[in-house]
């Protein structure tokens, strides 16, 4: 049973406290949406979950399937099944996508004996699904990618690396209408009872396609409101002021 349990999590960056006691549980088969005003701490939560060294955990815990990840390295978290699609994925010049994907896959699924050819056949299948050309395989990670291409590539990584808990930080920002559809389809195809999703977004439009089970609103480092998908609709209409106060 997949379960990510975040308990009373507080964290700071640069000495500034950003997360102030976040409680959130994501189980396999569930789709959670996380919304909230700019600067509320949504990306910070993603970075803290992934173990970014610039973000310091001040208290609380992160537990995935009974393994305490709170003090674990980013790679240990990834190997435990955690995946973050970054809000602004960084370019890494010279690091080829093909070898990056293959190396990462082998780390995350050491037991899998899929050979290289089968592996890249699968990669190509998913490249097509997210609307990226095969030539991307020989390009460098995010290097010279357009905003939309970066997002598509993050989703591709999700599909290839097959994590248990998927955190998508504004995967819908910067995508054109068609791309949004492709990305949503890829998410839906990947969703199963074995995978839990936390989708950070500002917009209703991706949630229309994906249909979250829960919506959480983060304000000033704390979950200020929770509800079902109707909450997302209310926010789209009314903004955040009514929650803030």
């Amino acid at each position: 049973m997949v379960e990510l349990k975040i308990t009373n999590l507080s964290a700071s960056v640069d000495g500034k406290k950003i997360l102030k006691g976040v409680d959130l549980t994501v189980k396999g088969g569930e789709i959670h949406a996380l919304m909230g005003p700019n600067g509320a701490g949504k990306s910070t939560l993603g970075n803290v979950l992934v173990g970014h060294p610039d973000y310091k955990i001040e208290g609380g815990s992160i537990v995935l399937d009974n393994i305490d990840l709170t003090n674990k390295t980013p790679e240990e978290r990834a190997r435990a099944g955690l995946f973050l699609a970054f809000q602004s994925p960084i370019a890494i010049p010279g690091v080829k996508i093909s070898s990056f994907l293959r190396t990462a896959y082998k780390q995350l699924h050491p037991e899998d004996k899929t050979n290289v050819t089968q592996f890249f056949d699968n990669v190509k299948k998913h490249l097509k699904k997210v609307g990226l050309d095969e030539s991307f395989l020989s390009r460098s990670v995010n290097d010279g990618f357009s905003g939309g291409e970066r997002k598509r590539f993050e989703i591709l990584q999700m599909a290839i690396l097959r994590p248990k808990i998927v955190i998508l930080d504004e995967i819908d920002s910067g995508l054109d209408v068609d791309a949004l559809k492709l990305v949503a389809d890829e998410i839906i195809e990947y969703a199963s009872s074995e995978v839990g999703f936390l989708i950070v977004t500002h917009y209703q439009r991706i949630l229309k396609n994906i249909d979250p089970n829960f919506v959480h609103v983060l304000v000033n480092g704390k979950i200020a409101k929770e509800g079902d998908k109707n909450l997302a609709l209310q926010i789209e209409e009314k903004g955040y002021d009514w929650i803030r106060s």
């Binding site: 173990g51 970014h52 790679e75 990834a78 190997r79 010279g94 995350l108 290289v116 050819t117 395989l137």
Partner: protein, 481 residues
């Protein structure tokens, strides 16, 4: 195209898997091999005479050596650049002859030496990738072979000592023309005690489609290796020559001081690749120079890893109109090492062009220096040059310096310099680690990415080797930052 990507990935993966457990002991191992002849420690006229005597050389060579010895003794040490005070002239052994035989066949190489080269994977490489191969152990070539097709076309490839005997006129035409032994103290030293190295001659119009390689192995401590290599691409020919070298690790320092001369005649295309992986007790001070004639193309590709101090500045003299040269170099300055490397491009004719890309990586207190010379003589009209130096500093105490030197006497010449210095960023590391890569893997991947534009030019077997060496160096570090 598709198929290519797959095959290459597959091949690389296969090769890397084979190397997974590799350690530096894979090449730092020591043989207990005693040379059959050695001049003992120290250098004087008698030693030089002795070397010439053992080699049964023609008289012109003997006189040349003695002259070079005088020049060596009269020249001062370079007073710029790295500290060379650790070179112990008195306690160095200048000539070690491993064996009487020079084999054309691995079976005939003395067992122990053969095993060494087998451990280093040389015979296997030869079978798969090479048109010809020379292997040198200590001071002498012990093995050489050349595929028959090339021999039939008049290609000559053997150790220089054998070439002096078998092709004296050809050797005389080129020996120390591009690099006169008076060039610098180390070139003069090489002139006095040179032994081994390769001689490669590619006749007019012959295109050799597979590389030819020489592999140099130093074994004993406190020895010097002083090979002299000459590569001649006659008019309209093309050739790729590769050098590899290793030495075991000793407590006492060893000296490697080679001469490499390359002659790219009119319309020829010569590529010289060297991957030098000396262990950390070696002073590596070769002099490498190419003469590039009209419309010829000379490419230097170099990977310099290991060693204690390295000073290499491969030079291209662009002597004819439209001659071009490129110089791609990777220097890895590991802990406690100094890499003083660079390139020289001398534009002596109109419409010549040069491109220099130097990439360095400094680890811990490693120090990487780029030292370059760009000269455009008056009359070298419309010549172009581009120099790019990129440095990557791994740790806070890592160092990098750039000393470009320009002498532009031709107003129509154009040139550009770019230099960057970077560190491995937390964001990049975190991104890769969040995909399951360990910190070491992530940092070596970033380092290899930084090297990518040069790595692409290196033949795959060597790219794999570089890949492995970079990973080894990075793996030794533990925490990066």
């Amino acid at each position: 195209m598709e198929v290519q990507i797959e095959n290459k990935e597959e091949e690389i993966e296969r090769l890397l898997d084979g190397l997974k457990n590799s350690k530096s002991s894979d090449w730092e191992f020591r043989d207990t091999y005693n040379p059959i002849y050695s001049t003992g420690k120290g250098l004087n006229k008698a030693v030089v005479e002795e070397i010439s005597e053992i080699k049964k050389e023609p008289d012109w060579m003997r006189r040349f050596r003695l002259k070079a010895l005088e020049v060596f003794q009269s020249k001062p040490m370079p007073n710029w650049g790295p500290d060379l005070s650790g070179i112990d002239w008195e306690n160095t052994n200048y000539y070690n002859k491993p064996d009487e035989r020079k084999a054309n066949n691995w079976e005939d190489v003395p067992d122990q030496i053969k095993q060494t080269f087998e451990k280093l994977g040389i015979p296997e490489m030869e079978q798969k990738y090479l048109a010809g191969s020379v292997a040198q152990y200590e001071s002498e070539g012990v093995y050489h072979s050349l595929k028959k097709v090339w021999e039939d076309k008049g290609v000559v490839f053997m150790d220089l000592d054998s070439a002096v005997k078998n092709h004296p006129d050809l050797v005389k035409e080129y020996f120390c023309k591009a690099v006169p032994m008076t060039d610098n103290k180390f070139a003069a030293l090489n002139g006095a005690v040179w032994s081994g190295g390769s001689f490669l001659y590619v006749p007019k119009g012959v295109h050799i489609d597979m590389p030819l390689q020489t592999y140099f192995r130093m074994n004993n401590e406190s020895t010097g290796q002083f090979e002299h290599t000459i590569v001649v691409g006659d008019e309209g020919s093309s050739v790729h020559y590769i050098e590899g070298c290793t030495a075991p690790r000793w407590d006492k320092d060893s000296l490697h001081s080679a001469i490499v001369e390359i002659y790219a005649h009119k319309n020829s295309n010569v590529r010289y690749t060297s991957v030098q992986n000396w262990s950390k007790s070696v002073y590596n001070m070769p002099t490498k120079r190419a003469w590039v004639d009209e419309n010829a193309k000379m490419e230097w590709v170099g990977g310099s890893l290991g060693s204690k101090v390295t000073m290499i500045y491969p030079s291209s003299y662009l002597r004819g109109p439209h001659a071009t040269t490129s110089n791609l170099n990777i220097s890895l300055a590991g802990p406690g090492t100094v890499k003083d490397t660079g390139a020289k491009a001398i534009h002596m004719a109109p419409y010549t062009s040069s491109k220099i890309i130097a990439k360095s990586i400094s680890i811990e207190d490693g120090k990487a220096i780029y030292r370059g010379l760009l000269r455009m003589n008056k009359g070298a009209v419309n010549s172009r040059s581009r120099v790019q130096c990129d440095a990557l500093l791994i740790n806070d105490e890592s160092q990098s310096y750039t000393y470009p030197h320009d002498e532009i006497y031709e107003p129509s010449g154009t040139f550009s310099h770019e230099a960057t210095v970077g560190k491995i960023g937390t964001e990049e590391l975190t991104y890769l680690r969040s995909r399951g890569l360990s910190e070491d893997e992530a940092s070596s991947m970033i380092v290899l990415g930084f090297l990518d534009d040069v790595m692409r030019e290196i033949p795959m077997e060597f790219a794999i080797e570089m890949n492995r060496l970079v990973k080894l160096e990075m793996g030794k570090l533990g925490a990066v930052g």
